[in-house]
Symmetry: C2
Subunit: 193 residues, 2 copies
Amino acid sequence: MKQTEQAKKITKVAASLFAKKGYNGVGVAEIGAASGFGRGTLYHHIESKEDLLHEIASQYISDLVQSGHKIARQYPDPIQRLNALSRHLMVVISRSLAEIIVCFREVQSLTGSRHHNVMCMHAEYQEIWSRTIEEGVEQNVFRAVDKIAVKGLLGMYFYSCLWLKPDGFQSPEDIGDVFSDLVIRSLSRRPGE
Amino acid sequence: MKQTEQAKKITKVAASLFAKKGYNGVGVAEIGAASGFGRGTLYHHIESKEDLLHEIASQYISDLVQSGHKIARQYPDPIQRLNALSRHLMVVISRSLAEIIVCFREVQSLTGSRHHNVMCMHAEYQEIWSRTIEEGVEQNVFRAVDKIAVKGLLGMYFYSCLWLKPDGFQSPEDIGDVFSDLVIRSLSRRPGE
């Protein structure tokens, strides 16, 4: 197993354990045992338990930010872009359920620059959506909405980590389509507006 | 202080402690000390820590269900009803932030009928919204949407427990209006549809 694969496995196992038992209820030794790596390998990849928590809270939001910027360049049209962002967000949520649950519960356990860094990435991701809505307003396809609207709309997606079944009959992309249809309708200007 | 006020204070203090330190990180003695009641008063009101968790997870959703049914009777018009449900939901979330955070994090710690009871109330509350949308569809004001839409729309509201500031410059009613405007637009039929 390559080093990056080892690191990913450790993070995945830790996320799953933290989601089940809480961050304070799991020790580094238990993470080592569950991931099948010895102490040496474990400490080669992580500095501390907080380091692991930071990894868990960072990976999915860092992926969302990077892919979000790529999607923004790829889809100049705000409606098409919202649909692409929507599908991608549901795919990431669906494969990161434990990580997102742990982040929501435990982000306050991160200290100093680690906490700041995670919060900044969330703000940057929200900004990608806000900017898309603003461009739609500039192009007269969307109406202007209160700033708090984007928080509500993103909440539609992130809250799904509490009810989403990764093996459910609807794919994340299908759910992304249902949600983006609601979002786009909620923002769209009507004839005469 | 009346017995019901004592009970309410104990639940409020426990919710706040559980939200800060986690359900497993707080003992009954600490709740007693923080609420200023002796062991006798405490055990007069609660049977166990799980009993307290059940109280915390039940109160706001029981309020939402009862008031939801009342609002449904009061507003036969689906659009007006969604606006009233929306405002009321934001008011309840705003005054129950600690309770909702604790419920989301710890509902799995409830066992047997207690867990079932809380989940049933959440389903009943969702059903009040679903029924409102269905009536709108029957009356041709709303379009038919996928069943998962109502989960997304309610997520808009509940997810706000992570970012809502009870002393923020927008009142819960104002936020409820912004959200209900998005929800109603997302569901409304357009001319010719």
